[in-house]
Subunit: 203 residues, 2 copies
């Protein structure tokens, strides 16, 4: 991806993809207006979102359906598989292990880690929970560079440091703390409560 | 909140709050530079974040610690309790029910709903799971206007319609679909996989 796409645009791409596939006409054309009407969205927004992909619409005829599907799939990385790990197999970590949506983006959760002996060596949705002490070996074997941090706030920084030491260079953090990482490591934070708080302010 | 605060700023406010409280000196002063250094952040960013609250720093002396704590608490709504419900008590819904972070923002998860008889009338972290058929009555009794949608994509729109019918006016949606809502209802989407996909593009 050349330019960073906003999350809101990125999360609409699988919606377009599902809709286009549901039409079952890879040889036909479709306009951004038709997509917008079918999905109850603005046409300008649809065109803007699709412009992040390599697909180019033509005046009057619109997009070639097959080309558009291929362009979205390529953009979303459906054609490659990227391994990722989850650190922390508590309620949230296990929920993410069993979440199917990662496949939409070509991401495969290959392992999880926890320090609780009762969880280690258990499986959740085909994904094994390893001891945190095995993280270095497992991460290097799987070649994962992506990690999801689902541990309590008070241990998140030390887990983050350990992951970076294992070669992880991109972290999705659910712990409500600001992780300090060296240059070259990217962190994105998901704070569920903060999102709910913003909504609450709009009631 | 007068102006919409970015999620990234909002999620740093509890971090400042925890830090300020940890100092244990409500009668002293603290500068934005000192806060920034302690938390490993930029000073301009700290000042910008704190400007969303009613706290006003003074040249040289900085902020009055007690006033700053009170301003952040007021902004985060720590002084009021807002009831919210969760629809869908699957793995993610249950993880959110047991998540303690909502209290940071004065949000209280008062009930959850599901259609699975095996889950109904069970409790997760003091929160009861009700039958989806009781949603209207329970939501009206609790006065909740906020809901979190954690159901599969194929039923998310019908659940959303039902919630709106029960008086819900703000929805945090985890299902990877675009919910159509009437004017006056706000929706925010959290797509975990989309966030991970953005990170993966930066590796």
């Amino acid at each position: 991806m050349e330019k960073e796409i906003p999350v809101t645009s990125l999360q609409r791409l699988p919606v377009y993809l599902n809709y286009l596939k549901s039409l079952g006409k890879p040889e036909g054309n479709i306009s951004s207006g038709a997509i917008a009407r079918a999905l109850g969205m603005g046409e300008v927004l649809v065109r803007k979102d699709l412009a992040y992909t390599s697909a180019r619409g033509r005046t009057r005829t619109g997009y070639d359906c097959g080309e558009l599907i291929a362009a979205i799939e390529e953009y979303l990385g459906c054609n490659r598989i990227l391994p990722a790990v989850i650190f922390g197999a508590g309620a949230l970590g296990r929920a993410l292990m069993s979440y199917g949506g990662f496949k939409n983006y070509g991401i495969d959760i290959v392992a999880a880690f926890d320090t609780d002996p009762a969880k280690i060596d258990k499986f959740v949705a085909d994904c094994k929970i390893y001891s945190a002490s095995e993280a270095d070996e497992v991460i290097k074997n799987t070649g994962a560079r992506l990690a999801v941090v689902c541990v309590p706030a008070n241990v998140a920084q030390s887990v983050c440091d350990e992951l970076v030491g294992c070669g992880i260079s991109a972290i999705l953090n659910f712990a409500p703390v600001l992780l300090k990482v060296p240059a070259g490591v990217n962190v994105r934070n998901i704070d569920v409560a903060a999102n709910l708080a913003i909504l609450s302010s709009q009631i």
